[in-house]
């Protein structure tokens, strides 16, 4: 396995293109592990910087190589109203991994169990990316990024998040087999409330074995003066397609997901982002 160590973003993008197939190496908690099976060279981002948190008015920027722990501990982010994201990171119950894994890597890996990803979805996080050496950076939604062919995905420079409004309410629920395990089901929601009514809803779910996804049809059901959480939970459970694995059968995961969606929605309706 060849490892290329660029020192600039442009060089990184160039090496990635020249050495196809190649993959970006961020913190390495997936790519350096025995679970990484893809072939090709690695373009290491270790010498690029790309770390830190910046706040510009209502825009929050998190460098792609910022570790999950740094985000979790960032006072700037707490002040900017992103405690919800910070707690989602804490859900990943291994300090050793949070210290090494990066925000950009987490999104790029886009695994069903990546705890912060559903939170990023409901925060409408955008990715600041670099496609090629000449053009300037651009922004993509997480879904747009994931829709690209794996080897064509651009270098993630960071995440751009709009400061959530005062009326945004968050909820989150997860289940794992034990404290050290990845969640086999997770539901995260954001309800933007106005005078007791839900003006906009975002719901993201992750079930082990399938990628994290937003559930737009269910989100629509939630908008209105009295969101019907039972109906939404049922619809969410029906919308996902879990697979049976050592963490549970398909039917079990689906059932649990319905419970968790309801839990998350009730948390949000019950007064903000209490968990």
């Amino acid at each position: 396995m060849e490892i290329l160590i660029p020192t600039t973003v442009r060089e990184a993008v160039e090496l990635h293109k020249k050495n196809s197939p190649s993959h970006f190496l961020a913190g390495g908690t997936l790519v350096n592990s025995r679970r990484w099976k893809k072939k090709g060279s690695l373009v290491s981002l270790s010498a690029l910087g790309l770390t830190g948190v910046e706040i510009h008015g209502g825009d929050i920027f998190i460098g792609a190589m910022t570790s999950l722990s740094e985000v979790e501990a960032s006072e700037k982010l707490t002040e900017a109203g992103l405690e919800f994201l910070q707690r989602s990171i804490r859900d990943l119950q291994r300090k050793t991994i949070r210290n090494a894994a990066t925000m950009g890597g987490c999104v790029a890996a886009h695994l069903s169990y990546a705890d912060p990803v559903p939170a990023l979805y409901v925060l409408d996080a955008k990715l600041r990316v670099q496609f090629d050496t000449e053009a300037s950076h651009s922004e993509l939604g997480i879904d747009e990024y994931m829709a690209l062919r794996a080897l064509d995905r651009p270098l993630i420079l960071g995440l751009v998040i709009k400061r959530p409004g005062k009326n945004s309410r968050f909820g989150s629920a997860r289940r794992a087999r034990n404290a050290g395990d990845i969640p086999f089901a997770k539901a995260v929601c954001r309800l933007d409330m106005d005078a007791g009514a839900c003006k906009a809803a975002r719901l993201a779910v992750g079930v082990s074995g399938v990628p994290v996804s937003r559930l737009p049809e269910v989100e629509k059901m939630l908008v209105g003066p009295t969101p019907d959480v039972d109906k939404a939970a049922l619809a969410a459970a029906e919308a996902v397609r879990p697979v049976s694995d050592v963490r549970g059968s398909r039917s079990f995961k689906r059932k649990i997901l319905g419970v968790l969606v309801k839990d998350a929605l009730e948390q949000a309706l019950d007064g903000g982002d209490a968990r």
Binding site: I3, I5, S69, Q93, I97, R177, N178, G180
Partner: protein, 932 residues
Amino acid sequence: MKVSFMLNGQEVTVETEADERVLDLLRRIGIRSVRRGCDNEGTCGACSILLDGEIVCSCILLAHQVEGREILTVEGLADGRELHTIQAAFLDAGTVQCGYCMPGQILAVKALLDKNPRPNREDVIDALSGNYCRCTGYERIFTAVEAAAARLRGEEGKVETPTYKRDCRIVGKSSRRVDGEQLVRAEPSYVEDMVSPDTLHIKVLYSPHAHAEIIDIDTSKAEELPGVALVVTHRNAPDVWYGSAGQNYPEPSPYDRRLVDKFVRYVGDRVAIVAAETEEIAEQALELIEVEYKVLPAVFTIEEAAKEGAPLVHRRDPSIDPLPIGQKAGSNLAACAEGEIGNVDKGFEEAEVIIENEYRCAQVHALPQEPHVVFTRMQSGRLIIHASTQVPWHLRRIVARVLGIRENRIRVIKERVGGGFGHKQDVVHEEVAAWVTWQTNRPAYFRMTRKEEFVSARYRHAMTVRIKLGARRDGTITAIEQTVLADTGAYGPHCLTVPMNASSKSLPLFRCPNMRFRTFSYYTHTPIAGAYQGYGAPQGAFALQLAVAELADKIGMDQVDLLEKVRVRAGDMLDIMKILGEGQEGIPQKVSSCGLGPALERGRELVGWDDEKKDDGRWAEGCGVAIIQQGSGLPGIDAANAECRLCGDGTLLLLIGGTDLGTGLDTVAVKIAAEVLCIDVEDVAVIAADTDVTPFDVGAYASSGTYFSGMAAYRAADGLKSLVLEQAARLLGCKAEQLSLAPRGRITGGPKELTLAEVAHRAQGGDGAGQLAAFGSFTTEEAPIPYGAQFARVLVDRKTGLVKVRKFAAVQDCGTPINPDLALGQLYGGVMKAVGHSLFEEIVFDGKGRVKNPNYWDYKVPMIGDVPEVFKAELVEVDDPLGPFGAKSTSEISMNGAAPAIAAAIHDAVGVWIRQWPFTAERVLEALDRQA
């Protein structure tokens, strides 16, 4: 490429490959504290380092990622001979057991305390959330962190522990373990630290089929690969049948395997062995071996194996087995036994209530952090085996058989063991390395990967236990029938004794005149089952204790009250033990002491048995209890020896055959000898478990350590005491009976006081009688039984089936705890393993006998976040007349109570009986759905 970084305060520049793992790089440059536990998936934390002050796994970091950064390992903590405060606190709190994962934990605590001088329990859980420890059960880590934090703040940071045995100076009081300092410093201790550079590395080609005949195997390409020294297949393997069970000869286990055989009997069975100059070459060579298999039909469950006409796992002649154990040629029955006391049928006729159910236990894994590992070498024509084993002498005997040589051509040196738990009682792979070295005259190293551990080591037996229980409405038990069906896997080490233990460690807990047991052990085409802490008792206890809980429910009696009524008591004669021998007639035992009464009383308090239980409609709380027992070695079978040699200055060399697996046996033996000779622990140096140097001991299994090896140490010390007093009497011109030993090596009662040093000098000098040394041997026909009560208080989520253990109390009668801290550590560790087995641990197979979860990613083990909010282990004071200073065994028993206690608590909470472990959320939810 070159990489530069700061390592423990020193700038280091190392030539490396960009993709070299930091773990490998650090070990290559002499850092031993980083250890591989999880095959590079970042799930266990054994390789932890502090990188710029943060705890990370070095196994998933590549060398170039540490360029210009700062690394701290445990080697950089101590200040010369002065331990770091955290290292000292870990020792003082009795946290250290096998020590293998301890460096990572110590670093995690350092990272925490550097930022947070007053951490709460949640902070500690978070800080250590990536560090897996199988030994400690984590609870004592909280104590260590509290002490370390206080000391770092300049406070006293004293660790309070209970004391026992007032008439003793040393026994019954906690002190640091004698090997503790080397472990927290990460000094060379384990087999992997002993490997020399010119060593061959061993890799094994494993069968992809559950059952097949090897029609052809072509190893020519592998043999031609430069760097390959030896390839072994069934064609050139020794034609010797042997058993891998590390039991005393004659073993009650079959001789049913060869080093490599023409038939493979499970996915993971050996097909070929390669020894090469490097691991990488050995792996390449494996890929060059071409094998033609004839795939044969297979059986994967007890039910399939037991069917008439089922495919046979073995077609062999059982007459070569050392003992008849009920094996039946032409079937898959590997062993069977049955027996009865009283009149069971009549007992059922007298019953007013009958409970009859079947209980199932899945295969689970012991998973010590250090995998099976061995290093072999030749010296002066003898084979030297550096082993991580519980049974040095059995290992020597089995290897001698495989190699066809005499035992005195082999020396086994037991290094520090990075966790054993019974898992290292078997000779799992040592004979492979021994054969390679014997054939090549080269050192050989075989360290199993985590995947190999999961697939080719040993499991706890899957069992189906049927219980029929008859009782009167007042709770009196009139009859018990227990039928145990066990899956021994493809080979039969312990195939009789583990399932029999399910009965012999569960039935004698109850006063019942009519009892019957039946044991049937079957071969299947699945990985091998073997010894594991508890040794069948957890499965037996789960079934019988839960059946008794069901009885309590049925007759409307409080579970604790029922157990108090029907439990065994001191002085009871256990006639059933006569029919529960291990391949031979057993010995009826009298209960020499029994702390069950106070244990039940105290556990009831600790867990809040009588407190109100919460139920908000979704989350419901419930309590459950189990009474448990184990043994203290095997009377009539086990044996231990020790020797005490007095040095010229009055200090002591203690040589014991006993095998410390991290359990603290060396410390226990030292304390016993020190107590007898009225000297301090520091005055005793222990040398243990070296077949050339120390005397014979059967090894560490069957909870024999404290009683057998401890009694041998006691007798050796007592013998030396007599010699000392006789020698002193000669010097003083008085009678030895007048004299006695007094604290700190003084001899009093004569015309003047002498010291041990004076006596020793005179004895070993030219005008003396020679060095004062005494030998102690211990065999017996009676052994004390440790008892305990374990209580669980759980919360069950009716919507998801999730079970949370909120409180757990383990109250133990281990007689006199020789070192209370270490005894408590054993309890906490055993309980957490059992909690894992009860709630989420389970080996999962696909339909072809392949393990679906052979790694820590998919097979979950308890982490610190799984520790109950309130987790209490306590020892009740019981002075037993048999053991050394009243001691009984401690460790194994702690595995036996969690499953039945938690299952009973689940029923108490939500009204469903879960009769199959683990009690996964899915299983509980299914039961709730059925109930609804």
